[in-house]
């Protein structure tokens, strides 16, 4: 059993990688691609250059200027608990600080100069600056102060450079159209440097003159960005903050917590969002499950023992009717009739807690003769309607399955033998038939659980329950790489664990099944 479990758990790793890769590539290849939500929030009433520059800066920040597989590989590297190379720093407030990303060379610099850095001798400058940062025995406060300064200057210089490049690329696009290379212009009107690099520039064209006029600014911005990056690197290496993770082989390999990154809209740490939302979804589902089983199985048993009776037909019809009733409509009806004070008004309309929940006692208690429901009961009361909507459609499959399995066993030889030797009917039903009919019901768990997780997305939306559903929708709407991948990973992991649990329960329930 132990080896089996270990093998199953190890097999989950490639499965999860496969799932996340597929989902990521699907979104990346969909029109708009990763980060499509970002351009929408850039605002409409700005000059075109400002919009292009802002877009370029956002792409630079989130690494969207790389090909999707590269982005995915980088994400895998970040969530891997094993890290190679230099360790990140753990900044204040638990924010990870990475060593600064390299700066890409300006496009088409070969047309204007021998080296994009020009007269600037970086290695020398870097060494000097490094000395001044680390050489002197600075206190931790000083190092942090210097680091913050370097960080700010680097951020400004890098943003300025990215902005210049965006404008330069626009002019390059103009040039490409001018010299009859419309293929070298992408959908956004910017040039594709890869295609242009094979082309000998037409120095007489008007757009080239414009390019040449812009070049000194681009180069100056590039130099400034490189210089500040060197500073930043030096300040980073002076360890202003403690290092993150545990070293295994110092300088080569270390162990860290997986880093799921931050969302594109609002820079929220993804792991914190999921930690807040996943328990809500699981709570609703885990409450719903026993209810489904506790109603569906006795229903199936009654139907099987009283086969052909009105009860059997009635229950079957009722469960099937409920199964075919759309959950969206059921949710709306539940709000309209059960929650509205014009009708029953017995349940809350939305959310997980009452306004006053923060100041409530924890458990229900009586103060001055008034019963206060307390925080726990308040939560239970609030999830009543969502759970109701989640369970009603689940009875049919399980009860039908239970009924069929029991009928199957009723006609088996061993049941006839048991009846013939005079075993009480009750014992026959419960000790023999029911036990043996349980096995398929456990397998059913495997198919129902993922379906219910998916179904709760709709229910969460209707009842404004802050669960994984709304988070997933947000991730898809914004094409938010970090949120999407982490959500997929979490949901896939929960599902795989549910599958594993079903297999283990199967072995426990059926002595014939062993995994050794």
């Amino acid at each position: 059993m132990g080896t089996y479990l270990l093998r199953r758990i190890l097999l989950m790793v490639p499965t999860l990688i496969g799932i996340t890769f597929l989902v990521f590539m699907l979104v990346a290849l969909a029109p708009g691609g990763i980060g499509a939500g970002l351009s929408q929030s850039a605002g409409a009433m700005q000059s075109q250059t400002a919009v292009a520059q802002t877009k370029a800066r956002l792409e630079d920040r989130y690494g969207l200027d790389d090909a999707p597989p590269v982005q995915y590989a980088r994400w895998l590297g970040r969530i891997s608990p094993i890290k190679f190379g230099a360790r990140d720093l753990a900044g204040p407030g638990g924010v990870l600080i990475r060593s600064p990303k390299p700066i890409k060379d300006p496009p088409m610099w070969q047309w204007f100069t021998d080296s994009p850095l020009g007269s600037l001798a970086t290695p020398l400058v870097a060494a000097e600056r490094y000395e001044s940062m680390v050489g002197a025995n600075l206190s931790e406060d000083d190092r942090q102060e210097r680091f913050r300064e370097a960080e700010r200057r680097y951020a400004d210089a890098r943003a300025a450079y990215i902005g210049e490049v965006a404008t330069f690329k626009e002019t390059l696009g103009e040039y490409a159209r001018g010299v009859g290379m419309p293929n070298a212009v992408d959908k956004n009107g910017q040039a594709k440097p890869r295609l242009l690099s094979k082309h000998t520039p037409d120095k007489s064209s008007a757009a080239f003159v414009k390019l040449a006029a812009q070049w000194p600014r681009v180069q100056a911005a590039y130099q400034a960005a490189q210089v500040t990056r060197t500073d930043m690197l030096a300040a980073f290496k002076s360890d202003p903050y403690p290092k993150a993770g545990l070293p295994v082989i110092p300088g080569v390999m270390s162990l860290t917590k997986p880093d799921f990154g931050v969302t594109f809209t609002g820079s929220q740490p993804v792991i914190e969002l999921i930690a807040k939302r996943l328990p809500v979804t699981l709570l609703i589902n885990l409450v719903a499950f026993p209810i489904i089983y506790l109603i569906a199985i006795p229903g199936g048993m009654i139907a099987a023992t009283k086969r052909g009776s009105i009860l059997d037909v009635g229950l079957g019809a009722l469960f099937i009717a409920m199964w075919s009733f759309p959950v969206v409509l059921a949710g709306v009806l539940a709000i309209g009739f059960l929650a509205s004070k014009e009708y029953l008004g017995a349940f809350p309309v939305s959310g997980l807690h009452d306004n006053a929940a923060d100041s409530m006692h924890f458990l229900p208690q009586r103060t001055d003769g008034v019963l206060e429901r307390g925080w726990v009961l308040d939560t239970v009361w609030h999830i009543c309607l969502p759970v109701l909507c989640l369970v009603y459609g689940g009875f049919a499959i399980l009860s039908k399955q239970c009924r069929a399995a029991m009928l199957d066993n009723f006609s088996a030889d061993y049941v006839r033998t048991a009846k013939a030797k005079g075993v009480a009917t009750r014992d026959v039903v419960f000790r023999h038939v029911f036990r043996n009919s349980l096995l398929p019901l456990i397998t059913m768990f495997v198919t129902i659980f993922p379906a219910m997780l998916a179904g709760s997305v709709v229910i969460e939306k209707i009842f404004t329950v802050p669960g994984m559903g709304s988070l997933m929708l947000e991730a898809i709407a914004n094409r938010d790489r970090e949120l999407l991948l982490a959500n997929t990973l979490m949901i896939a992991a929960v599902n795989l664990l549910a599958l594993l649990l079903a297999d283990i329960m199967y072995a426990l329930a059926d002595p014939r099944v062993t995994y050794d």
Binding site: P31, G32, A36, G37, S39, Q40, S41, A42, G43, M45, Q46, Q48, A50, V51, Q53, T54, R57, G91, P92, G93, V95, I97, R152, D156, R158, A159, E170, K187, N188, G189, V262, S267, V332, I335, G336, A339, S340, G345, V349, S350, G351, L352, N355, D358, S359, F362, L363, Q365, G374, W375, V376, K461, I462, F463, T464, P466, S470, L508, A509, P511
Partner: protein, 707 residues
């Protein structure tokens, strides 16, 4: 050993689950207490600091005694907190005992409200004349009497002195006014949860509504007249050439923790917050980058803005910049600010109670604002404002009718069906008005060639066809059929009621005969009797309408256009696509007609980006490819005109040009609709929107729908 799952195993597993669950719940409850304690600690801190300041400032002996008494009370409160901590430590083992802790806190017998009330009294004694908490509406202002100090200004130039910012309609002057008595609360339900409520970072409309109540700027639009007025500024002086603006800050302006607001806060906000590349304020940064060159501190209460170019938007860009407290926000690193959701502190009439990174507000809990007792202006009446979110439309209305909220934005069908009910109207205030933030929707005609300069011109390249198309659409019927009559027919780019909109202008009439005549004039008529119009080359009049997003409205609008065109022999196909993939379509002009909507946030905006012919080139935002020299000239002239009245006239002239050329068929201005509980008083529908800080509870007031 028998491998069987028996009753005994079941009981055992259940026991383990129960033990685990109780441990988890206990830890959870501890977490709840911890958050509460931190909140208390922060409150005590704030009050201690306030007391310290009062002590330093106070020269009144009686007041000093009072302060000492208060200090003792604060210490007692702190002792109560220690007691709670001890009690928790003792009881945490027992799950049942946990719920008893609350009483230990209350046991000190002092409530926060007590302390707050005493502090208010002290503040009043301390600053006679400056009523932080008095009931009168007028604030005593430095500008009131005597010769004004003009040493801050550049000599020889006109100074624009401002009336003090105050209520537009003083709640205390309204019939039926009642003071909530420290417990009045107002709840608004949003359609979606704000993602964050940090100034400059919270970009969604709901976040903005919360931020607007807490943050203030040097100037703001008057809710009634929509003219720029001083809010934190009591005067300013503008360069006649439009290259600088010198602003003088009120002497009594202060943040919600009582710290004075100075010129350095203004400079810091611009240079070290908005323009700091490490802070994710891209939206505002990219707008302001081309407008404001620098902000310089002249003296403690004077700043000077320098601009790149003399454009009319500079003034509003500078004056409507929210001013952040430097002493508060500079405590955090840029990374911490970027990831925060609830760091919101300003100088407005309301404030957030918890303001540290550990206990800040975060979605999905409701946002609760409390009255800022240090507010420099007249005191609001409602003590607490609560903002929650319900996604589902029906759930929102049900929650409202259940009494769970005091204000919602109903959908058009909900609005129409409810206001027919006389009982409903007795208990609720129904608002439906157009204001400066109203959105507009319309159809963009591709006036150039489809797919850019190399493509084939669309039929709409001819002005007469565009005019005919507008006259073919019965826009009043569209508003009636598609939006249940909620809305007014739009007549141009500027919202009705804003300076750029000529109140006498009329939208094109619905007139199919004239439309047919115009089409014929333009060469479109049925030449072969197949009931479809053809041009002289025999090509059928066929075009495609592109709509974005799914939803009833875009579907119905598409169908309406199709029907209206079919009636005169024009064939229409409809293409629907997701908003996120629409960008290349718009940039490459790959459409005949587009359905679009625009939002607005200010009375005036610069139309150059979407209407000037410069923005046709290089895939700019002039999607319609509308090339009109008359319009270009007026836009250029108006954006450099610094006199608001002259500029308004130029905008109206420009609107007239657009009306004639019809690059867009404007369909509808979307009004704001609200249901507000009848118990909420002083609800006035202003051209700027709603002024929630003027509301009070307990007045059976009648709504005053504007317009």
């Amino acid at each position: 050993m028998q491998n069987r799952f028996g009753i005994k195993d079941f009981v055992l597993i259940m026991l383990v689950v129960i033990v685990g669950l109780s441990v988890w719940l206990t830890m959870f409850q501890r977490g709840r207490e911890w958050t509460k304690l931190q909140g208390m600690e922060q409150k005590i801190d704030g009050q201690e600091r306030a007391l310290g300041r009062l002590e330093r400032a106070g020269d009144n002996k009686a007041a000093m005694d009072e302060i000492r008494g208060l200090r003792a009370q604060v210490e007692q409160l702190a002792a109560g907190r220690d007691e709670t901590l001890r009690a928790i430590a003792a009881m945490s083992a027992k799950l049942d005992g946990v719920s008893g802790n609350k009483r230990a806190v209350d046991g000190t017998g002092i409530t926060d409200a007590d302390i707050q009330k005493r502090l208010d009294e002290l503040v009043k004694q301390g600053n006679p004349g400056k009523s932080a908490s008095s009931g009168s509406s007028g604030t005593a202002s430095a500008t009131g009497t005597g010769p004004r100090d003009e040493s801050w200004a550049r000599p020889g130039l006109k100074i624009d002195w401002q009336e003090p910012w105050s209520f537009v309609t003083d709640p205390r002057s309204v019939k039926g006014y009642r003071d909530g008595g420290g417990a009045s609360e107002f709840t608004e339900t949003f359609e979606a949860q704000p993602a964050k409520i940090v100034p400059f970072l919270g970009l969604d409309v709901y976040g903005r509504r919360v931020i607007d109540l807490v943050m203030q700027s040097l100037g703001s639009y008057d809710p009634k007249t929509l003219k720029m007025r001083g809010q934190l500024a009591d005067a300013w002086q503008a360069d006649p050439a439009g290259l600088w603006l010198r602003v003088h800050i009120r002497s009594d302006a202060r943040f919600s923790d009582g710290v004075k607001l100075t010129a350095e806060d203004v400079r810091w906000t611009f240079h070290d917050f908005v323009m700091n590349e490490q802070v994710e304020t891209e939206r505002d940064r990219s707008t302001l980058r081309d407008s404001i060159k620098s902000v310089t501190v002249i003296d403690e209460r004077t700043v000077e803005f320098a601009f790149f170019e003399p454009l009319f938007l500079n003034e509003s860009n500078a004056l409507t910049l929210f001013i952040l407290p430097k002493h508060f926000y500079s405590k955090f690193t840029p990374a911490e600010i970027n990831k925060s959701t609830g760091l919101l502190m300003g100088s407005g009439p309301y404030k957030l109670e918890r303001l540290s990174l550990d206990t800040e507000w975060s979605p999905p809990s409701p946002v609760v604002l409390v009255r800022n007792e240090y507010y420099w202006g007249p005191r609001s009446v409602v003590d607490r404002l609560r903002f929650k979110a319900i996604d589902n439309e029906l759930a929102r209305l049900t929650d409202y009718t259940n009494g769970g909220s005091d204000m919602i934005t109903p959908s058009a069908p909900q609005f129409v069906s409810k206001i027919e009910d006389p009982d409903w109207n007795k208990e609720n205030q129904n608002l439906n008005w157009v204001n400066m933030k109203s959105g507009r929707s319309g159809i963009i005609w591709n006036c150039g060639a489809r797919g850019g300069p190399t493509g084939k011109p669309t039929p709409f390249a001819d002005k007469r066809v565009r005019q005919a198309m507008t006259m073919l659409m019965d826009r009043e019927k569209m508003v009636r059929d598609i939006w249940k009559g909620v809305g007014v027919v739009a007549k141009g780019f500027n919202n009705p009621g804003t300076p750029g909109c000529d109140p006498d202008a009329k939208p094109w009439p619905y007139d199919t005969t004239r439309a047919k005549a115009l089409l014929k004039e333009a060469g479109w008529e049925d030449r072969n009797g197949d009931r479809v119009l053809e041009n002289k080359d025999g090509q059928d009049f066929v075009f495609e309408v592109t709509t974005f997003g799914t939803g009833e409205v875009s579907e119905k609008t598409g169908a309406f256009i199709k029907d209206a065109c079919a009636a005169v022999g024009i064939r229409v196909t409809i293409r629907n696509m997701d908003w996120s993939v629409g960008d290349p379509v718009r940039k490459q002009r790959d459409f005949d007609a587009l359905l679009m909507g625009w939002g607005a946030n200010a009375p005036e905006s610069d139309p150059k980006q979407i209407f000037h012919s410069d923005s046709i080139k290089n895939q700019g935002d002039n999607f319609a490819q509308w090339n009109s020299p008359a319009s270009d000239a007026l836009i250029e002239q108006a954006r450099r005109e610094l006199n608001p009245d002259k500029r308004a006239q130029l905008w109206r002239d420009w609107e007239a040009v657009m009306h004639d050329e019809q690059p867009y068929t404007w369909v509808r201005v979307q009004p704001w609709v609200r249901f507000i509980d009848g118990d909420v008083g002083n609800v006035v529908a202003y051209p700027k929107g709603l002024e929630v800080w003027e509301f009070f509870r307990g007045g059976a007031a009648s709504a005053t729908p504007g317009n």
